[in-house]
């Protein structure tokens, strides 16, 4: 991910009227934004709509970006507020469904979807599926730390807590992720560790 002066340079030029340059920022961050939004809503159409809304809001508020933090940090703050607003409008509880219950129900219904009986899952698949079982908060913080490469201070700024609290939340999210993996993907985790 490009950071620092290059982003700020693009922003300055967009503010001076080179609107087409904004597409570079969009291409640079679209995957990160889309992935974070998917933590809030598994529906890809909704996620794409929200992600587009995020970039449009970011464009309209571009003059308010002071450059004190990274552009990505500022952008991910907009993602958080936009997602919460969207979910409230749709009346979906923000501390979302317990995905584990949905998972277990699907598993018990003798469908082709059997968590522990699927052919050998790759390690990456296991992580992705375990992430889907986490709560919105946990999945979001793991995504921000590992995929969006935000520091604890930046994560604190995005989710509105101090860095120490962000650190505790990250630790708990990791622990819960590991628990989900051990509970639902026992064989794969054994292979991973062994």
């Amino acid at each position: 991910m490009q950071t620092g002066p290059v982003d700020n340079e693009i922003i300055n030029r967009v503010l001076q009227g080179e609107q087409a340059l904004y597409a570079q920022l969009v291409k640079r961050y679209q995957n990160f934004v889309f992935t974070i939004v998917l933590r809030y809503t598994p529906n890809r159409e909704d996620a794409e709509e929200i992600a587009q809304d995020v970039f449009v809001k970011a464009y309209r508020s571009l003059a308010d970006f002071r450059g004190e933090s990274k552009f990505s940090t500022w952008l991910y703050t907009i993602v958080t507020t936009t997602c919460i607003t969207f979910l409230r409008k749709k009346k979906v509880p923000i501390h979302s469904l317990d995905n584990e219950q949905v998972f277990e129900l699907a598993d018990s219904q003798n469908s082709s979807f059997k968590a522990n009986q699927v052919e050998q899952k790759s390690k990456v698949q296991v992580i992705h599926e375990a992430l889907r079982l986490l709560s919105v908060d946990d999945a979001r913080i793991i995504t921000l730390f590992y995929q969006a490469e935000q520091s604890l201070e930046e994560i604190g700024r995005i989710i509105g807590v101090d860095p120490n609290t962000a650190k505790v939340k990250l630790h708990r999210a990791r622990v819960r992720l590991k628990e989900k993996m051990e509970k639902h993907f026992t064989e794969e985790v054994k292979d991973m560790v062994g």
Partner: protein, 165 residues
């Protein structure tokens, strides 16, 4: 252990953890486990991608919009502080006027600020106060507002209870 893997923690803590990992099999096994997880999370998680038209859709959407001027260009903080200062001065002035009305040296042996024994509630005439039409309307509006707030609070509680199920 996570602090050690993240490279955080003090030098003493890191040395202590290193020693534990080197000497204790359980710690070593746990460390390997967490390291594997860390590697997966750091390097193997893939990002989801939106549709091919994503960027184009955004550029089409922003072509209809203008960038809003920076908030600091039209919000003058001095005006906001000025208004706040005016209200604070009004409140302080009101409190000063209030305390100035109190007779601090009333010549009574009673040292309390307000002598409740001299207040005769039976002689207080409230009929004019409660007979006033405007007062009645004001009280009715307050009751309605109170009921609306109560309703909102109960709906919020219900929504929370439903989401917890």
């Amino acid at each position: 252990m996570w602090d050690y893997i993240d490279g955080a923690g003090s030098q003493e803590e890191r040395l202590f953890i290193e020693q534990l990992i080197a000497t204790n099999q359980q710690w070593k096994a746990k460390y390997q486990e967490l390291l594997e997880l860390q590697d997966l999370l750091s390097h193997r998680l893939e990002l989801d991608e939106p549709s091919m038209r994503f960027t184009q859709n955004i550029m089409e959407a922003i072509s209809k919009h203008q960038i809003a001027p920076a908030a600091k260009s039209y919000i003058n903080k001095r005006i906001i502080w000025g208004i706040a200062g005016f209200f604070i001065c009004c409140i302080i002035g009101f409190l000063i006027a209030l305390f100035a009305q109190v007779n601090w040296s009333a010549g009574s042996t009673d040292n309390s600020l307000i002598n409740f024994s001299k207040v005769n509630l039976n002689k207080v005439d409230t009929t004019n106060f409660f007979n006033n039409t405007y007062t009645t309307i004001f009280m009715m509006i307050n009751v309605v507002l109170g009921l609306v707030v109560l309703d909102m609070y109960l709906r919020m509680k219900k929504a929370k209870a439903e989401s917890m199920k």
